[in-house]
């Protein structure tokens, strides 16, 4: 059960990380927005890569 929940959370993290990356890529003009998306992406990537 705990394992199932963990896997679900990893999938969720991957999904949200993809959304942020997508938003970053789609943002054409505002550079502050682009930076913001990338910053929010950091903890999600750290978890997905199993670093922190």
């Amino acid at each position: 059960m705990a394992k199932f929940i963990m896997i679900t959370y990893y999938l969720l993290t991957a999904f949200i990380a993809t959304l942020f990356f997508w938003n970053f890529w789609q943002e054409k003009k505002k550079i502050d927005r682009q930076i913001l998306y990338l910053l929010v992406l950091i903890p999600l990537l750290l978890r997905l890569l199993r670093i922190k």
């Binding site: 705990a2 929940i5 963990m6 959370y9 970053f24 890529w25 550079i31 682009q34 930076i35 990338l38 992406l41 950091i42 990537l45 750290l46 978890r47 890569l49 199993r50 670093i51 922190k52």
Partner: protein, 383 residues
């Protein structure tokens, strides 16, 4: 497009730089020297095979005497950001010689927490202890297990079996997951395995060694439930009279569940004790959390608070050095063993060669660590 690529390169750079440090910290091994008194070394997963191969599995060092007697279990690093417990445990492992009875020592009880760091508090990743042969380097851990090993956290942590509602963070805190269960969260499995060890090996005494904030009332004390209270009181009075340091007794609250000093006593025949020494590093209103501060416990803000009587322990320019903290823990531990042995001679535990308070303060804790490069390979355990 070009800005995006530049930004992405920046992201990769700021991702890799801390990632390397965190990865190295998680995989840094501390060589533990099994001293002459260590008769065998086993793993906690022996008592719960589900732990095998996980980051939560940890070493158990056995110091067995020639004569059989009682058994005591010493736990260090239940909270891996309170390293005095681990250091005291290592001094016992490297130096202790047991004449009668058995001493079981787990220096990294929350092994996963010892491989994590605290987000947001700027903890040093490592700390070094001066020894005769150079510096011995240790990982500085966190209070809770790494989320890489137990994740996600619940919204509210429901303690098993009492159903008490606790903070979500405490689901990863082994001092809230006692007595645990075999198929629960990873930290519940750790405490369950330890409960099985205590029950199967018929352990008489469990000594769980911690450190606590100077602004927290439960510090510089022995926390004991009803069944251990008498012994704890004798120990407290003896160290005060003979070794001149304070260590009062705090009763273990029966309604606060999940703690070692509560559940071990309730779910086994063992008598639990939780030792606290002041660790100013854990206090909140302090300067930067540096390695030096962790070791010497000196802080100007705490000094000012102490003059306003806001601290629960005496505090002056000398701070609370690690040698004093480890020394107190060793003296109290030895005194618990001695008092118990006097009261229960058929289950006595007699140990020699472990230094007491005054000796550790004089020589420093590093004096008691051997140089791993001068020791036979099969006596070294990476933890």
């Amino acid at each position: 497009m070009r800005t995006k690529i530049i930004l992405l390169i920046c992201l990769v750079f700021i991702l890799i730089w801390p990632a390397i440090q965190l990865y190295q910290h998680r995989h840094f091994q501390i060589p533990i020297v099994a001293g002459p008194g260590v008769t065998r070394v086993t793993k906690l997963s022996h008592y719960l095979p589900a732990l095998k191969g996980t980051m939560a599995d940890t070493w158990i060092f056995w110091l067995e005497g020639q004569e059989s007697g009682g058994k005591a279990l010493i736990l260090g690093n239940s909270h891996a950001n309170e390293p005095e417990g681990m250091l005291a445990a290592l001094v016992v492992i490297e130096n202790g010689l047991v004449e009668r009875g058995t001493l079981l020592v787990i220096p990294q009880f929350n092994h996963s927490a010892s491989r994590a760091t605290r987000p947001g508090d700027g903890y040093p990743l490592y700390f070094n202890i001066d020894t005769k042969w150079g510096k011995k380097k240790f990982r500085m851990g966190n209070r809770e297990a790494s989320p890489l090993d137990q994740w996600p956290d619940p919204d509210v942590y429901l303690h098993y079996p009492d159903k008490q509602l606790l903070s979500f963070l405490d689901a990863r805190n082994v001092n809230r997951t006692w007595p645990g269960r075999p198929k629960g969260l990873l930290m519940e499995q750790v405490t369950y395995a330890a409960m099985e060890l205590i029950r199967q090996e018929k352990v008489d005494l469990v000594i769980d060694i911690h450190g606590a904030e100077t602004m927290f009332p439960v510090t510089n004390c022995i926390v004991a439930p009803e069944k251990s209270a008498k012994l704890a009181t004798m120990v407290s009075l003896t160290v005060k009279a003979t070794e001149k340091f304070d260590n009062h007794v705090e009763p273990s609250p029966p309604k606060f569940r999940g703690l070692s000093h509560r559940e071990i006593g309730d779910y086994s025949d063992a008598m639990p004790f939780l030792l606290e020494a002041p660790i100013p590093f854990l206090d909140q209103p302090t300067g930067p959390k540096t390695e030096k501060f962790l070791l010497d416990g000196k802080d100007p803000f705490l000094l000012r608070l102490s003059r306003k009587n806001k601290l629960f322990v005496p505090y002056d320019e000398t701070g609370w050095p690690i040698d004093k903290r480890v020394g107190q823990h060793l003296s109290v531990t030895l005194e618990i063993l001695r008092q118990y042995s006097r009261r229960t001679p058929e289950r006595s535990i007699i140990i020699h060669n472990v230094p007491r308070y005054a000796e550790v303060v004089e020589k420093g804790v590093g004096y008691y660590f051997q140089d791993p490069s001068q020791v036979r390979r099969d006596r070294i355990y990476l933890n």
